[in-house]
């Protein structure tokens, strides 16, 4: 199964799922877009910020997909996940799966997304939400006591 995974700060192109490689071989092309809603925790929001532990996230996604190749033998899976600021209504993730039959494509998509949301080190945050760690005086006190080394270059 061909696997292509990317993290990107750019808006995901509408041509993301375009391919002629599997013409005549694929009986199914399943495309999924995970969109940013305009509300989060009952707050109206304009965007979400996504952060990734990039090297581990890429390795983790690939590992998940490789483990799913046997139970869901598809032809190709393409995954693109945004990092940085993603405006509401835009896609934070897109997945495109080419398969001989729809059953394995749907199965792979559902299982991959379930596992991604539990295992892949990517985090989203409402940039306008007050941070819970800084709400009270005790937390601010703890925050001020932490000594950090120099940031890596």
């Amino acid at each position: 199964m061909k696997i292509d995974i990317e993290l990107t700060q750019a808006r995901i192109s509408s041509k993301f799922g375009a391919s002629t490689e599997w013409r005549g071989k694929a009986g199914a092309l399943v495309e999924f877009s995970g969109l940013v809603r305009d509300e989060e925790n009952d707050r109206v929001i304009a965007s979400l910020d996504y952060e990734a532990y990039s090297t581990m996230a890429l390795k983790s996604m690939r590992g998940i997909l490789e483990s799913l190749a046997l139970p869901y033998p598809c032809l190709e899976v393409r995954v693109m996940h945004r990092v940085g600021t993603v405006p509401a209504s835009e896609a934070a993730i897109k997945v495109a799966i080419w398969a001989r039959h729809r059953t394995e494509a749907f199965g792979l998509l559902a299982t991959f997304m379930d596992r991604l949301k539990k295992e892949v080190p990517i985090w989203k945050r409402d940039p306008t939400a007050p941070h819970p760690q800084l709400r009270d005086a005790e937390s601010r006190k703890k925050f001020s006591l932490v000594q950090c080394p120099e940031e890596p270059a």
């Binding site: 995970g34 532990y53 997304m113 985090w123 945050r125 941070h131 760690q133 932490v146």
Partner: protein, 79 residues
């Protein structure tokens, strides 16, 4: 040992990488005990944090060394 931190932990600690005088190899329990001595603010987060070593989550019997790439992984929320 350098330890990468992410998401809200960066706010808690004020940086994206912390250091702890661990050379190892040490068990996961010993790692946490030493880390919490230097960073007691992490104690309230420990139950929700997973540890990764060289880009993979560790199991309870893992041994960690200073040459490993260690990270504290808060609950994830991608997708």
């Amino acid at each position: 040992m350098k330890i990468l931190v992410f998401a809200h932990l960066k706010d808690v600690l004020g940086c994206s990488q912390i250091e702890c005088p661990i050379r190892g190899p040490v068990t996961l329990d010993a790692f946490w005990n030493r880390l919490l001595e230097d960073y007691p603010v992490l104690s309230e987060h420990r139950q929700t944090l997973r540890v990764s070593r060289n880009l993979e989550f560790v199991t309870a019997d893992a041994l960690l060394s200073e040459n490993d790439e260690i990270a504290l992984i808060p609950p994830v929320s991608g997708g």
